[in-house]
């Protein structure tokens, strides 16, 4: 009898971790599916439309940054505050351009102060780097991105490629899964993409990470029907 009960106990103790694991995975999958289901669904009318949303702006480089600046110029800044700018560590020009934009805003309005922050991040893949070595650099970039995203916890993510935005968007997605913060992710495919999506664009589109996906050429919208065609930004 005693032997039997101890056996039963050991049975339970060996099953417990497995049960926990299965429960955990079930909850996790449920959360993932829930987040995917809610992705792309508009937030609905804001209860307090005056309340601003903290916004992460991922700057690409060269042409990507120029397109993003054009978008920022027409967004109402008081709705997207504070603004966090992130650019690749190897790209000094982009943050410089963002600073010029923010300074011109600060000059034109009375509300000076800490409405913008500028940060750099390791890049997952440089132009021309081989896909094999980019596995390792992507891991480093992920760790760094995780640290930054936990600090920022943005409500809005604006990005338009290239690879720099992928770790940040994936982490924003998992922050939604865990339930820390529900962020809305917007991706604008570069004007340079006329017939095919970029790798970053394809990932965010196929994995349904982007809440709204914009393309600048009608050919792309026909190929990717969930995308919104918005005309040229440049």
């Amino acid at each position: 009898m005693e032997k039997n009960s101890s056996c039963c106990f050991s049975n339970l103790s060996s099953n417990l971790p497995i049960t926990c694991l299965i429960t955990f995975i079930t909850i996790f999958l449920h959360r993932v599916l829930n987040v995917i289901y809610r992705t792309g669904k508009p937030l609905g009318k804001r209860v307090s439309p005056q309340r601003p949303l903290s916004t992460l702006i991922v700057l690409g480089s060269g042409g990507h940054t120029a397109e993003m600046i054009n978008l920022l110029l027409v967004l109402r800044k008081e709705r997207f505050t504070p603004r966090f700018y992130i650019a690749a560590a190897t790209d000094n020009m982009s943050l410089q351009k963002a600073r010029v934009l923010e300074n011109s805003l600060a000059d034109s309005s009375e509300t000076k102060g800490l409405s913008a922050e500028f940060m750099q991040i390791y890049r997952s893949r440089e132009v021309g780097q081989s896909y094999v070595t980019s596995v390792w650099t992507t891991l480093v970039a992920m760790a760094h991105a995780l640290w930054l995203m936990i600090k920022i916890r943005p409500q809005v993510v604006l990005c338009n490629g290239p690879g720099t935005c992928i770790p940040l968007c994936v982490i924003a997605f998992f922050i939604k899964v865990i339930g820390i913060r529900r962020s809305s992710i917007f991706y604008v495919e570069s004007i340079a993409r006329v017939k095919r999506l970029s790798l970053s664009g394809l990932l965010l589109y196929k994995l349904r990470i982007a809440d709204q996906f914009f393309v600048q050429w009608p050919q792309l919208q026909r190929k990717y029907p969930r995308a919104h065609y918005v005309g040229c930004l440049m």
Binding site: N70, R79, G128, M234
Partner: protein
Amino acid sequence: MGEARDGVKVKRVVFVTVGTTCFDALVKVADCQEVKDELYRRGYTDLLIQMGRGSYLPAKSTGDDGSLAVDYFTFSLSIADHLRSASLVISHAGSGSIFETLQLGKPLIVVVNEDLMDNHQSELAEELAERKHLYCSRPLTLHQTIASMDLNSLVPYTPGDATPVAKLINRFLGFPEES
């Protein structure tokens, strides 16, 4: 600039730019005699090359001997000034250079770099060439493009507008429509 006075030749500058890239194939072909002769024949007087990170150095020339004057530099903070004073721009296919040139209303030949790993850049140049905003070329065909181009047939580019994106983002987030 603009008018010829007292027999002084009007300066008509061709500006070649590779941006921040390394694109020796373009610098080399712009510097070759065939292309220089063709440019001179079409009435250009100066060739200014922004060579970026490339290692090929063009041959400088003052152009006194009745040929094209050639000069080069690596980088400059005032690319916009060079674009503005150019009569023709020959550029790599980066979207930054392309749109900066088009928005200044300058005639543009885009030369696609065929050595890039992921060569999506030709897509944009070819699409804009189809819409007659620019000429799209390759290093090997640049001189033919220059010989056959008709700059009057180019259609001026109307700059784009980001308000449709902003509208959709605002609507998604539940902000009231702009009045």
